[in-house]
Symmetry: D2
Amino acid sequence: MSHSTISLEELVITNLGEKKFPSPGWQRNFSADGTGWHTDGDRILLCDHTAELEASLAKGEPLPSIELAGPRKEIFFNPTQTCVAIVTCGGLCPGLNDVIRTIVMQSYYAYGVRRILGIQYGYEGLDPAYGHRPLELTPEMVMNLPYFGGTFLGSSRGRKDTKVMVNRLEALGVNILFVIGGDGSQRGATDLFEECQLRGNGISIIGVPKTIDNDLMFMDRSFGYQTAFAAACHAVTGAHAEARGARNGIGLVKLMGRDSGFIACSAALATGEVNFVLIPEVDFDLEGEQGLLAALDRRLEQRGHAVIVVAEGAGQDLVPASQARLDASGNKLHEDIGVFLRDRINGYFKSQDKEVTLKYIDPSYTIRSVPAAPEDRVFCLNLARHAVHAGMAGKTGMVVARWHQRFVHLPMKVVTRGRRKVDPHGDLWRSVVEATGQPAVMKG
Amino acid sequence: MSHSTISLEELVITNLGEKKFPSPGWQRNFSADGTGWHTDGDRILLCDHTAELEASLAKGEPLPSIELAGPRKEIFFNPTQTCVAIVTCGGLCPGLNDVIRTIVMQSYYAYGVRRILGIQYGYEGLDPAYGHRPLELTPEMVMNLPYFGGTFLGSSRGRKDTKVMVNRLEALGVNILFVIGGDGSQRGATDLFEECQLRGNGISIIGVPKTIDNDLMFMDRSFGYQTAFAAACHAVTGAHAEARGARNGIGLVKLMGRDSGFIACSAALATGEVNFVLIPEVDFDLEGEQGLLAALDRRLEQRGHAVIVVAEGAGQDLVPASQARLDASGNKLHEDIGVFLRDRINGYFKSQDKEVTLKYIDPSYTIRSVPAAPEDRVFCLNLARHAVHAGMAGKTGMVVARWHQRFVHLPMKVVTRGRRKVDPHGDLWRSVVEATGQPAVMKG
Amino acid sequence: MSHSTISLEELVITNLGEKKFPSPGWQRNFSADGTGWHTDGDRILLCDHTAELEASLAKGEPLPSIELAGPRKEIFFNPTQTCVAIVTCGGLCPGLNDVIRTIVMQSYYAYGVRRILGIQYGYEGLDPAYGHRPLELTPEMVMNLPYFGGTFLGSSRGRKDTKVMVNRLEALGVNILFVIGGDGSQRGATDLFEECQLRGNGISIIGVPKTIDNDLMFMDRSFGYQTAFAAACHAVTGAHAEARGARNGIGLVKLMGRDSGFIACSAALATGEVNFVLIPEVDFDLEGEQGLLAALDRRLEQRGHAVIVVAEGAGQDLVPASQARLDASGNKLHEDIGVFLRDRINGYFKSQDKEVTLKYIDPSYTIRSVPAAPEDRVFCLNLARHAVHAGMAGKTGMVVARWHQRFVHLPMKVVTRGRRKVDPHGDLWRSVVEATGQPAVMKG
Amino acid sequence: MSHSTISLEELVITNLGEKKFPSPGWQRNFSADGTGWHTDGDRILLCDHTAELEASLAKGEPLPSIELAGPRKEIFFNPTQTCVAIVTCGGLCPGLNDVIRTIVMQSYYAYGVRRILGIQYGYEGLDPAYGHRPLELTPEMVMNLPYFGGTFLGSSRGRKDTKVMVNRLEALGVNILFVIGGDGSQRGATDLFEECQLRGNGISIIGVPKTIDNDLMFMDRSFGYQTAFAAACHAVTGAHAEARGARNGIGLVKLMGRDSGFIACSAALATGEVNFVLIPEVDFDLEGEQGLLAALDRRLEQRGHAVIVVAEGAGQDLVPASQARLDASGNKLHEDIGVFLRDRINGYFKSQDKEVTLKYIDPSYTIRSVPAAPEDRVFCLNLARHAVHAGMAGKTGMVVARWHQRFVHLPMKVVTRGRRKVDPHGDLWRSVVEATGQPAVMKG
């Protein structure tokens, strides 16, 4: 846990100014007695472990805490005069269309905002050079979006010039920009936020963090993640059927997970049909008594089949180095560990004169392009609702997240300062080792 | 929130005695350096809201906190000499088979327990009068259970004589009994726990709380709930198609929710296709300007169709009283609000000479008899793993739960002291009102 | 089989007149060499059983045969001057939106028709008294319809005055009307056809037969049927889980099937979990040695649980007579056999002092309001394609169907002359008896 | 159509001998009056097109016809003395477990057979050198198989020595062997049949034809095919979401289809989201005005995104020749057209300086390892039922199939004499061209 590295100060949310407009009518009626509203002073602890807490208290340090999300009784923007805009950036993730839908619905119905712009194709849509015109979004247009995977607005990778984009926001008359995107995009949003603050143009920049890998910090989970690993389970179950259908059958599945193995772990736990999980956070050997190949061989001897799940970022130290490659967002492209393992496993058993049948499955984009499953839909709805509440209240430079089961506001800078990982000594990895029966250590 | 009503003392977990056996081999290897183990002193706060916390600190009160779940380095039972038993009680719930499977797998593989009994048909199976013989469970038998809804062990409602059941446990040589069941069953388990303590027979009673209605206290959620409301979404989406397919079409769906409307709320949020949600926690009128019928009429005028979701326990004050009825577990049986509403709505529009087409859908048991969805499978696995860890560590009279995103131990007495409800002033209900656009108040 | 009751003459399709326009460009290119086109002379036998055939040949009778569907090289209507209209009638059925979509797409892209009207709310939309205005349909509007159950155009039951409707078609300038509906609606379409022929107005009336019960004559199957019984399987599997989850558990599922038991049979075969199938075509007793109750009792004795599937039209002779009721289309409303059986079964075992747990499931509209499954989508696409081909070729008074695996043209009068039933001596029922193990005869 | 190449003689089914045992009791009761039984004389025409028929009749040729499947009143084998065996060969296909289940259930319950052997790992299981022991199958063991993809018995590719395998069958006392497998395996079964006939050992060899590609001749369709293309639709829909989610987005999906494009065609028709379908039966150019690349470019210009589905056997003439490779069954291994196209498309647009985003999806084994969908389950059940009826009646050297919607017996030699293809001039391909809007010809 990196709790200790965050100070209370760093968790403070920026407000554009005094909240002088009343929250629209029906919301007030809903809790006329004053209950049910959160103020900016409603906060929960970042760390609630009693021993750590007592240590902090003993030292007299202020306890890091987080602002709770929720509608504010008074808001900063005058809804009928407000223009909000939405942009989706980076790779697809289940739930993008849900977030778009709810931002539109919530702005329109809960606040009465009438000008809602859909920026097309990610940050490209804020750079006039690309010639994309924003869509004027209405409830009618977005009503059925969640039936479809992908993003209605289109997306793109990479960032554009900050000043050019802020110019564009000003020219369009945008008051609040909702940026749905991963850590690269949120860093871009941070730049937008800082430029807007510098100019004092009163534009709010609100992020909805997106990462199919579930690896953003200080979040219970990221939207789309549950749907994605559920989709991944189909591939695992298929691999299991293939493995059982042949003598010495091996099913090998490569799953998303560039820097973290959450999807691989969850798919293994959910199916109960995986014997080896390989993730970026835990090194393993191929060769040697403790290595994967020998362990796999033992498994085949005992049970006649095996299923392996490998996250795309696992075992990169094993793959022969080649020229460094970056994608458009600047992420390092990985060597294909799946194909590499397939060939090495086949080669090993050939050298052992042992006939095996290995089936390799790479579900690739099929796990991220599906519509969100019901629980994720509810989760997206809440993230989007609270993003609108936060934006209307005049908050900026922040993202909406869930922490310890409550929706909260986090400064953008905090969530992009690192990536969450599977802790090799934590309970998730332990549960994987328990559930798979794989050796706790596969490294000499 | 009822945090304030719980004292630290009430949250203390009972231990059978000194933990004198080392946790089995591979577990120690997993974190040989000592990281990754929880002790009984690892606790998290029950309430982490900073203002409440400061108030408590100011008063000098001890802060209520909860014991974290997890394997203990030393355990109470000698695994190879231990006999564990599993019983499932009450109505079906998605995930029962997952919990059974993991308790068996975890006991067998992670601890080396070799005698695992499956008690058949709920508490009946502990009463010799019924003649059910326990099954000797093996990994092979339970491996594929999660493909199936229901419970492999069978279930029944109602309780049996505590002494008779404890006699039976002693006769069978059971050391740990895992009770998977709802609040009635956990109250029964509490009786077993107390009788065992009285006798000093060293039997551990560990509960895995089950409630499809998601209404147990001090839990983030209950297992099976996500799967259940996802299944309910099919009924809602069907009702929506029916409503849109006819002039003045009305889709009316009755969903589970005896005392709490969580399923109804979540199904409405997840589909985005519901216009009225009726739950036990929020009273409503039928007649009058503010009543449901007039609101429904207005909706039809404006949009030509409507979808209503009603929890089975909603509007009980509206249904003509009849003789009190109880089910075998002593739960009050409700009048059928769905059929009642169907008839009243049809009657109203007939009296208005307005032609409507109402389609009534009661998915009933179909939402609870499905296999668990992937996320629920992972959740069940964790509950079951931690139940086994707790039992082997010699804990008793407790249930495993998740609180603020961590798995914890809670005394049985605490979780059965009341039922969780949808807070009419809280964020869940607000999100429903926002998402449906229904009147915040439908009562004069 | 009622083959013998149909003469060749009755199978002749009416043509509006000479086909003097060439089929649009790309279609000609597709098979420039003349292969791949069907002429009106391409026909297949109605009956291909060799013995029956030889008998007919011996008698010198002309063999009844059916016109094959498909594009014609020359067509009757000039596409660019043609207006087509679509109407959906009666209850929902999976695939309605697929048929609408493909009629629009095929008319627009394959023929170049530019005026495509969507008649709203069934035949009501052709009666000006209701004030529904037709929608001008475009490919863009219908592109995504198959993601949704129901009908985009809305529907209604019952017929309207034929002359009024033909007046309306003429006033709208409609050249081809596609009627998607059940046998009541196709009888209405026959009236429209005859009135148009009488007036000589050159309007083509083409039917796409719809019946979720799969009970139209001379058709391999009806669209939506596969999807519907697949949806029904969920209810059956749920009932099975409920039945197995209790001592003497009984799962009772009521499925659609007013006059025929196809859905009940198929759901039983597909799940392999049903012990008794009750359909309208096969009478059964409740009481007596051979009756259902005794058979059910024996099943419980032997296996401890049972699953019963009952079609809504089964056992109507058992239910106490009450006043005859008709729905708006004039179909007789059935007594609720499901509720009746539930109560009788519970009563029987109570009288026997045998504790049983019966769970009753009525999935009702949920099996007809789902989107079409992939195979049904292809089937709907083909029906719709061939409907457009037929209409453009100037055919009228006919429906598109599939017979012995080929798409064909059938006169409307032929398909509405009776309803297809499960043959109690045929292979489908035999397979049900074999698969369930139920007594071949349950009547004294 | 290759009807004309088959003579009536070639369609005759071999019978082992006189049917002297009565079909077991309950079956007789089922149709005591004699209706509902088929005799060997019940046949349907292979070709029922009236014009072709009249031509044949005019020439005085006997009309090729096919024997109908179904139980026979008298049977060849004495059920209680009969041993049946089941073997599954070749690649996985949805429904294998359904066929196994029903062969066991039908043999056991409908005929009273008590010795049912499951041969493990395909033909390997009949070669003692491999040391696989047959499983003794019971209803209990196979009851739940259809919940799982794959084959419970395991499978393998390739054939073993015919004499060795017949020796093994004799040694095991097998009377009827059911071979579930593709055309290679059915050729192997033909050899077994001929060897058994030569030896006069009275062993019946019955085939259940399996091909996920739907390419066996004289069959309406093959089992598992519907399920497989439905699974493929997920990949296509995912590709569509990816394509729409990016500027100039291209989704490229490779699907199974070694020699025939049925899966690719059906997936395109079912989704309505594909713009180009490439199959082995229809050649296409990459370059040139009419080629794929130019057509794709035009599509992007007009619509901004495109989806391409390519069958694995398509465009093999375009891929640079390399050394011939065969799999263990002797099937030619194809070059990977998917990867080839991906690279060529990316290269083309790079050379055009046009930024595109291509996402490549290869669902590979995931579409064949799923459990069968409900309609396929019913289909498998019927194939298996009729296989058992045929075997018990003493038929041999034949497969069970469906033709023109009826279940029939076909000599093994007939179905393995070629592979069914998509007819480039037929209605299936026409429907694809109509539905995708792709150029009818993409070859210069």
